[in-house]
């Protein structure tokens, strides 16, 4: 009994960490730009591909083996710096005045474009980049052995969560972003360069998605279609916690991670079902999510 609980707890935590990394960026982008970015799944996939390529390149040289871990943040940064501004300035900014429906459709269009773009660049065959995963070895918790890499994932998620939270609450730029989330028009009136901040926030969100993908790459076979599955899960997390809320993403990820682990071990057929069931229950009780704010209906 206790063993099962420990397994569920650890599995859930690992899964939650993974979910949190992806959901955080989605939530941030929604908070600042009010756009639900379906292409977030593509950024995740791009991060994974970039990381797999870089890890492969690094492995072919005869370098310090642990340096391979640097490739992961590097891949995430590359995706964020290249794709983020390009998408935000090139396409999304034209969508801000449009109805939310069209914004959603535009990000879906982007998702389709990126799906094929990754296929063009990396081909359709799965890519493997196990080096960072196997290098660390395994650790025993109770009777179960876990790869250290999974715990590294949990650590990374925690550090990223703290960094983003410090950035948002303690730095000037972070506070400006909060002001924009609260009231974009007033911030503009106060002289905040809203377009510049939009690019920044969007790019940070993209880096986070890329990091989620880059951290995942060593654990799986990187192949087409991986972005399509992630976006639904990330959305469930973000809705559960409340769109645009940092704490919400963390709590949502934990809740879904633990519940999923529990069902996988106890009732495997219900795996997907349970995630949406929780989302359903939370939304019935709190339609804007756990940390979401009620919006006033305007005439």
């Amino acid at each position: 009994m206790i063993d099962t609980l420990v397994v569920i707890g650890t599995d859930g935590l690992i899964y939650a960490a993974w979910l949190f990394l992806i959901a955080l960026g989605l939530s941030l982008i929604y908070g600042v730009l009010r756009v639900l970015n379906i292409a977030h799944g593509s950024f995740y996939a791009l991060g994974a591909y970039a990381a797999a390529s870089l890890i492969g390149l690094y492995g072919r040289r005869d370098l310090w083996p642990y340096g391979v871990y640097l490739m992961i943040p590097l891949a995430a940064l590359a995706v964020g710096v290249v794709v983020g501004p390009l998408v935000e300035r090139g396409i999304l900014r034209w969508m801000y005045p449009r109805e939310p429906v069209y914004q959603l459709l535009a990000t879906y269009a982007l998702f389709l474009i990126f799906e094929d773009l990754t296929k063009l660049v990396w081909g359709v065959d799965p890519i493997y980049a196990y080096a960072p995963y196997t290098l660390l070895g395994e650790v025993s918790i109770g009777d179960i052995t876990y790869p250290w890499y999974s715990l590294l994932l949990v650590g990374t998620a925690a550090v990223v969560g703290i960094l983003v939270s410090v950035f948002i609450r303690r730095t000037r730029t972070g506070r400006i972003i909060v002001a924009m989330i609260e009231d974009p028009e007033m911030s503009m009136a106060l002289g905040i360069d809203v377009p510049r901040m939009s690019v920044l926030a969007f790019s940070i969100g993209t880096v986070l998605a890329g990091l989620g993908g880059a951290m995942t790459a060593p654990m799986i076979a990187v192949m087409p279609g991986m972005g399509a599955e992630v976006i639904v899960l990330a959305f469930a997390v973000v809705v559960l916690g409340g769109l645009g809320s940092l704490e919400g993403a963390a709590v949502g990820a934990l809740l879904i991670g633990l519940l999923r682990a529990a069902t996988v071990h106890l009732f495997p057929v219900l795996e997907l079902f349970v995630i949406y069931l929780v989302m359903a229950l939370v939304l019935i009780l709190r339609p804007r999510g756990l940390w979401g704010r009620v919006e006033v209906r305007r005439l």
């Binding site: 109805e99 879906y108 773009l117 057929v269």
Partner: protein, 314 residues
């Protein structure tokens, strides 16, 4: 309906019906698929009238298709007419249940919740392989149409004509619905739902019934696809299938019941040729086209209809 519109409708119906006996078989097949997809797109368009984007119509599309498969395999029903009615009823029943919950939500919440529902079905179809056949799906043996078992050669044309008749009936019904008070209320939901409530209408009910009706349409599209293809698989329920319906709707437009259908025919032929000549960049082309449509022709191909008038005025 204006007499001219009725005339055009009847003429195109007869024309499309005659085409079924003349054109090569693969074209007829494509037309059948396009019409079935058009019905699913019409269901997206119906909800879009209320300003709601559903990324989950594949839920009902797959429900319709799988209902037919189960009816054939478990109940031994062979008659296409019964399969159609059964599939539509089951789809609408599913919607009557999920609708209780989803009709409260708008915008991205509506979009993503409908997406979540279809992913639940997808997950179940994959996992419960002893019932659903898993990723392989299920084969549907050729049905009888009007109590007759047609030869393999004629069945294609017969199924096409049946698809055409179903589509025509559905179109007329939806057109009448949109002209009814409930249909107008749908547009009012999009414009301003708070005001609609002040006028004494229940916004929830309007959305709910539109959602159930849309599910029936998508279910009909699904069962027609299943019968024409003779096979169902979980991909029908995947959210990217619903994304295709959304694309078709955007391509055609939502102003008329005919617009999504035109979108579907254009889409089906575009896809067939694109898959042949550009298999790896096909989705990219789709996405690019979608962006262009959103930016420059947000009301779809249907806007082309007005080009002539604009020129006459200037």
């Amino acid at each position: 309906m204006k007499p001219r519109a009725v005339l055009i409708g009847v003429l195109s119906f007869v024309g499309l019906g005659a085409v079924g006996f003349v054109l090569p078989r693969w074209t007829v097949f494509l037309f059948s698929l396009a019409l079935a997809r058009g019905l699913a797109a019409l269901s997206v368009a119906l909800l879009m009238r209320a300003g709601l984007v559903s990324f989950g119509q594949s839920l009902f599309f797959a429900t319709g298709a799988y209902t037919a498969a189960f009816m054939v395999r478990l109940l031994g029903v062979r008659e296409a007419g019964l399969l159609l009615v059964g599939a539509v009823i089951v789809s609408m029943t599913v919607a009557a249940l999920t609708g209780l919950w989803i009709a409260r939500y708008r915008e991205i919440f509506f979009a993503m919740l409908s997406l979540a529902f279809t992913m639940i079905l997808y997950g179940w179809l994959l996992k419960a392989y002893w019932i659903t056949g898993g990723t392989d799906g299920l084969r549907i043996p050729p049905p009888t149409v009007l109590g007759t078992a047609w030869s393999v050669d004629t069945l294609r044309s017969v199924l096409y004509e049946a698809t055409l008749v179903c589509t025509a009936v559905a179109l007329v019904l939806i057109h009448l619905f949109l002209d009814s008070p409930l249909g107008y209320a749908l547009r009012a939901v999009r414009d301003n739902e708070v005001r609609l409530e002040y006028l004494g209408s229940s916004v929830w009910q309007v959305v709910y019934w539109a959602y159930v009706l849309a599910a029936g349409l998508a279910g009909l599209g699904g069962v027609l696809t299943a019968l024409n293809v003779g096979h169902v698989d979980p991909q029908l329920a995947y959210w990217t299938t619903a994304g295709e319906f959304v694309f078709i709707t955007l391509l055609g437009g939502t102003e008329s019941v005919l617009a999504p259908l035109i979108g579907a025919v254009v889409f089906e032929f575009l896809r067939t040729y694109a898959l042949k000549y550009a298999p790896y960049t096909w989705q990219m082309a789709l996405g690019g086209m979608m962006l262009l449509l959103i930016l420059f022709m947000p009301r779809g191909l249907w806007t082309l209809r007005y080009l002539r008038f604009r020129k006459a005025v200037s």
